[in-house]
């Protein structure tokens, strides 16, 4: 962090500690509105925090590194392990490649993995092994899986998978306790159905526990903080097969707030839904490529706030004395959770520490965050590993020091924040309250109506989703009304020009991951089909309790008039999977669809189930 007035001294201290800046921090002077915003956020937390009961302090997540030691040249192995050890890394997680362990059916080769596992254990690390990817010889040739994709497939027989899992756990018994079953089993990594993954998970768990009752099984969640997928896994019979739920973090694409809601729901409502689930651990197993070191640091502190037991980072993202510097801290609560300012509160040996960061870069007086309790401590606030931004300009010490907060988390000490912060991890309500948007939760309906130029999208948005595949549509004018037109083509080779889908995202405050508790009516208003009957139709693909589902196909009435079609759905569970909640699918039509309005209503229970009813508004 950088505090004006002590900038040079601060940089010297950081340099003497062997800390060097990684990236320059963007910053800008906020206007009065931004400062007022920060003040209001802190004030609102103070009001809520005053009424909340103190939550128990949470210790830091154990830090792990994702590092395939077999890919590391032997001469660099000891050096890398020493570096990670010095950084406070506790555990190494790596794949136990089935193809290399069992190159031919029944012939096991352990030497290579024995060497690296023993090296890691000898350096004081715990080792977590990942069962998979799939042995190429185990895949059924009749499936005609492309050669490069065989490792993402599944074994033809469950017997060979069980033999591999049993042999592995047996061989490493006493050395390895945690076993992950395949990597993030999404479409890219796992060419199989959800049920097929659950079978592999159950079989591996059964074999592992038979051989080693102390073995613990990790089931990775399929998406990036996908509440729906995690919920389905934990609601399936396979839940008894896993001791740890592992999840992955996305690159934030400039908006860390998008991560917070799924994480809060995962913590409080998915993992914490039953007493048994409260005992189940949640681990961060990794993240999307392109997560910056600063974002990893922010994720680590958020993981801490959400009570994550372990946090595995790519080895190259572990820097300096990353975790060791915070070993004595314990998480207490939060002052602010975005979007401009993130501030988490920790207890330390020398008092309270506020870890803060800002995706947009802020430069505000410290007193905007909290009153000063100890001016000396504020001025000497310690930097987090990675060091302060070297771009901090030197200024004479002001009466109330200004603090520059950028993307890299900084540590602030000497602030009087007792009673100002909210204890515990942020909940769904906290996250929604922190959004700079109106609260729509009490409204009966939301809409996207492009014939209303002043506010065409109210709680329902398509404009932000037109970069999604197949969803590049246009806003056009027809018969005096604006609307969304699909662009479909059937020509081979022109797939990129085929855009039959109109994606929609529902405001999270209005409806987010409610496991089908709300019955929903979707009304689609569109132009008729001049080509005649049964030439234009659509259905709706939506995120349901058990995955993406389709409504019935709805033909659009012939003619040039406007028509409205209503769908009632009783199993929606919108959770922003793949960045959207539902889409209108017109593929299969002979003409492009022209949709002018979509309305969503919550309807009282007791309707007549899912169905589509059309009526003309001509």
């Amino acid at each position: 962090m950088a505090l004006h007035g002590r900038g040079e001294a601060h940089r010297q201290r950081a340099a003497s500690a062997g800390v060097k800046p990684l990236l320059s921090t963007r910053s800008r002077k906020p206007g009065p509105r931004a400062r007022l915003c920060v003040f209001l956020i802190v004030l609102s937390c103070a009001v809520v925090g005053a009424a909340s009961s103190p939550a128990p302090a949470t210790a830091a997540p154990l830090l792990g590194a994702n590092l395939d030691l077999t890919r590391l040249p032997e001469e660099h192995r000891a050096q890398e392990l020493a570096r990670l050890s010095a950084a406070g890394v506790h555990s190494i997680r790596m794949p136990l490649d089935w193809n290399r362990v069992e190159p031919q059916p029944g012939r096991f080769l352990w030497q290579e993995y024995d060497a690296v596992v023993d090296a890691a254990l000898g350096s004081g690390f715990e080792v977590v092994l990942i069962l998979g990817p799939c042995a190429e010889w185990a895949v059924d040739p009749a499936w005609h899986v492309p050669p490069g994709e065989l490792c993402c497939s599944i074994p033809q027989s469950l017997d060979v998978w069980e033999r591999y899992a049993r042999a592995a756990v047996s061989h490493f018994k006493g050395r390895v306790h945690y076993w992950q079953v395949r990597k993030q089993p999404n479409m890219r990594n796992f060419r199989g159905a959800h049920r097929e993954y659950l079978r592999l998970l159950a079989a591996a768990a059964r074999q592992a526990r038979e051989v080693d009752p102390a073995a613990r099984i990790i089931a990775p969640e399929a998406g990036y903080l996908d509440d729906a997928a995690a919920d389905r896994l934990l609601c399936s019979p396979a839940r008894s097969s896993c001791d740890v739920l592992g999840f992955y973090l996305p690159a934030d694409h400039g908006d860390l707030s998008r991560v917070l809601l799924p994480w809060a729901v995962l913590t409080h409502e998915v993992l914490g839904q039953t007493q048994a689930e409260r005992r189940r651990s949640g681990w961060v197993l990794g993240g999307e490529e392109g997560i910056s070191p600063d974002l990893w640091a922010a994720y680590y502190f958020l993981a801490w706030a959400f009570g994550v037991e372990r946090c595995y980072l790519p080895a190259e993202a572990v820097r300096g004395d990353f975790a060791a510097a915070f070993a004595e801290l314990s998480y207490r609560g939060f002052l602010s959770v975005g979007p401009e300012l993130w501030a988490l509160v920790f207890d330390g040996a020398t008092g309270t520490v506020v870890i803060a960061w800002s995706p947009v870069g802020l430069e505000v007086p410290v007193t905007d965050i909290a009153p000063i309790a100890d001016a000396d401590l504020v001025a000497e606030a310690a930097p987090v590993p990675g060091g302060p931004s070297s771009s901090a300009p030197e200024k004479p010490a002001p009466a109330a020091p200004t603090v520059r907060i950028g993307a890299r988390p900084v540590a602030l000490r000497g602030l009087a924040i007792d009673g100002l912060f909210r204890a515990g991890a942020p909940t769904r309500r906290d996250v929604l309250a922190a959004r700079p948007r109106p609260n729509l939760s009490a409204l009966p309906m939301i809409y996207a109506d492009y014939s209303m130029p002043e506010r065409p999208e109210f709680g329902l948005s398509n404009r932000s989703l037109r970069q999604l595949r197949g969803g590049t549509i246009t806003e056009e004018l027809a018969q005096g009304r604006s609307g969304l037109r699909t662009h479909m083509t059937c020509r081979r080779g022109d797939e990129e020009l085929d855009n039959p889908w109109i994606y929609f995202d529902v405001d999270d405050g209005w409806l987010y991951f409610d496991r089908g508790k709300n019955r929903l009516a979707i009304t689609v208003e569109c132009q008729g089909c001049p080509l005649g009957p049964k030439k234009l139709g659509f259905n709706i693909m939506y995120d349901a309790v058990d995955g993406y589902r389709f409504t019935r196909w709805q033909w659009v009435d012939p003619g040039y008039g406007w028509h409205a079609y209503r769908f009632e759905l009783s199993d929606v569970s919108f959770a922003n999977r793949d960045a959207y909640d539902f889409r209108i699918n017109a593929k299969g039509s002979k003409q492009d669809a022209f949709v002018t309005a979509v309305t969503l209503r919550k309807v009282p229970c007791g309707g007549d189930g899912e169905g589509a009813r059309g009526h003309s508004t001509e």
Binding site: W143, M187, G223, H253, R469, Y548, R552, G588
Partner: protein, 100 residues
């Protein structure tokens, strides 16, 4: 060392030597660079699981006049840029149908 970096280095060496090989190497490097840029420009897609097509009817417009396996293949390709083989698609659809 990443394959792209390796190709780029090979290209640089070949260019110094001149000749036909250098053109091929430069072409390779350009392709690698284009591939890299295309990967970066692709929209984020982290689809967790294959879409459940069990609720669709095979062959009418709602499945784009395809079988359910064909429809799953088409949707997967359209969204992920990856073709499932027909054998895989049939297997996955069978699993989805059994799940109900």
């Amino acid at each position: 060392m990443s394959p792209n970096l390796l190709i780029w280095q090979v290209a640089c060496r070949a260019t110094k030597g001149g000749g036909e090989m250098s053109k091929i190497a430069v072409l390779l490097a350009v392709f690698a660079l284009v591939g890299m840029l295309a990967a970066l420009a692709a929209p984020p897609a982290c689809a967790a699981e294959y879409h459940n097509v069990a609720g669709l009817e095979p062959w009418p417009p709602e499945s784009n006049y395809m079988s359910l396996a064909g429809c799953l293949r088409w949707m997967t390709f359209r969204e992920q840029g990856v073709w499932l083989s027909m054998g895989e698609a049939k297997r996955i659809v069978n699993e989805q149908l059994q799940q109900g």
